[in-house]
Amino acid sequence: MTIRNVRDHGQRFRPRMTCLKKVEAVILEMQDPKTGVKSQPQRLVITTIPHAITGEDIVAWLANRYSIQTEEACTLGRMLVAFGYIYPLQDHKRLIIKPDASLYRFQTPYFWPAQQWPVEDTDYAIYLAKRNIRKKGILEMYEQEQYNSLHKWMNHKWDFIVMQAKEQYRAGKERKKPDRVVFDCQERAYWVVHRPPVRSTRTHVHARTCTHARKRTHIGSCVFLVKYSITYNKHDPFLAPCLPSNPWLTDDVTYWMLNMTNVEIPTKMRVERWTFSFGELLADPRGRADFTLFLKKEFSGENLAFWEACEDLKWGTAATMNEKAQQIYKTFLARGAPRWINIDGKTMEVTVKGLKHPHRYVLDAAQTHIFMLMKKDSYGRYLKSPVFKETQKRAIDPEQHSVTQLEANAKKRRPSLSPIIVRQQEEEERARMATSGPVDITQVMSKLSNKGKEVPPPKK
């Protein structure tokens, strides 16, 4: 639907194309019969059409009138042609001004570029249909393509467009032959300005190289996207149904209870997600807890502890940053530290140097190194470990709720744990973990050797 009565957003007062008004003033001066560019008749085969001007005359007039150099006059002339106020009679597709005897003509004010009337596709379709009639079905390549695409998306108006084109063609026949020729040239020039022809050879090559490069990245990203979609298909919250049931729809919070942060027995879907990537495992708190347990059994928990400490530094408050950084250095990085992590010499050098002036991301390199280490080494072993297999076996697969089940649930409904209480529980848990202290490998070994002999230290 063509939009009429467009609110012009104050363009009346400060139009975007103020240059158009100025160009119009120049044109009106140029075409003045006494002081303007001198015109000559254009001789065609049968007829003579007046008011043709040569390129060199235009350039000379502009240079004279505005006291500018020839090059500047050429540029100004080119601008006039590019806007569509003057059109070339020979070589009509190239909107440039040639400062020689090539001929130009002034465009009629009906076809002047105007900001308040956007160039309509309907008009272009009518023009192409008319051109098709005149050229008896032989349109240029780009015109043909445009015609077809317009036919596709403006199909509902097509009867009207064809009828209007015919009527305009017939009305044109009522005019005298030279006028008809001039009108055709004017219209053609208008559409060369507003729907420029696609230059076949140059753009073809350019397009080809562009599409090649784009294809490669496209294919890469496509493959990745396909893989991602296949993997996460069942876990997508929109595509797969929520088991047992969506709490927002059925008012039954089993789904949330089963997927709580520190739930004892996770769901099968959750466990499956841990196998997708190491990042997923660490992102899920239950997964991270499981992984911690596994690492404790393997006595290589310092890597994960270091990683968590780095995360804490990155996301923590700025006030505690210095302190935390020092703590981490003492615990993990210093020579002879209780939980010394094994990173390569270069990274260690960079990190230690950075720690002299610590900031949030000072441990980034070390963290990435440890992450990759865990991913390549511990993650694989974790997935094959009895800890994980146990968790997998115990994981529950809730069934979808039936309607009767939901009604029963509604009867048994009780308010759930307040999030404040949940938070308090988490903090207590964290405090307990902290007070039990960093597990020193030597202590653990001594504990193991003195298993039967000592009384275990009292828990606070």
Partner: protein, 258 residues
Amino acid sequence: MPLIINKVCDDGTTSSPITMEEGKALIESLIKVVACYRHLASCVGGCTDNLHLRCELQQTRERAHKLAVACRHHLTARLRDKTLPPEERQEMERLWVAFTSSLELLHVDMCKVLNMGSNFSLVNTSALVKTGIQGETREVAARALSLADLNRAEDPVPGSLEDLEQGQLKEEIVRVDQMLEDMEEKVNVPRWMVEARGPQYADPASMDSTSLGLYSMDEEASVQHEQRCERSQVFVILALCGVILVAAVLSVCVIYFS
């Protein structure tokens, strides 16, 4: 056909029922008038812009308005009729799309003419752009008004006519605007659902025939085209044979008499 249209225009009331063919003819006339108006409007501001052109523009506008009012009555009456069978409704919707598109084109052209008319005053003829047009547009206006020829009134005074004309033009633009909005409100036709039945390409060979319906043009045109092709081929063959015969006779004569 012009007689029928005049009768309809004179009526202007919704009570007299217009047949489907007459409705189609109205729309076709409107499209023709809009096409002619565009040709006339392209001359405004150029070197052939004069009072006659402005008069012609005004007359064309009036004619377009009359046709538009008649079309509107016909289409709104038909489309609001709930008992319309589906094929007729589809046809009416197509006509409605054609009608609103022509009105929109006319609206844009009228706005442009108003703008250009205010920029190019006829008093100062040296400011009119030398566009290369030489002839007059009488025939185009005559075609729009479906008359054999325009009879020109005596030349009115330039200045007063222009102001009057600009004022009138503004009013007419507002009227067309109003009409379009009314149509949108009263009749609910989703435009994008309308399917065009005509051909994708206007058949160039059929441009010589004067009256064509909206649907049958393709078949008529193709038949006429084929007939003409065959006939022309036959003529060419006959002509060639004739030439060969004449040449043979002449050569025989030459041989005998030399």
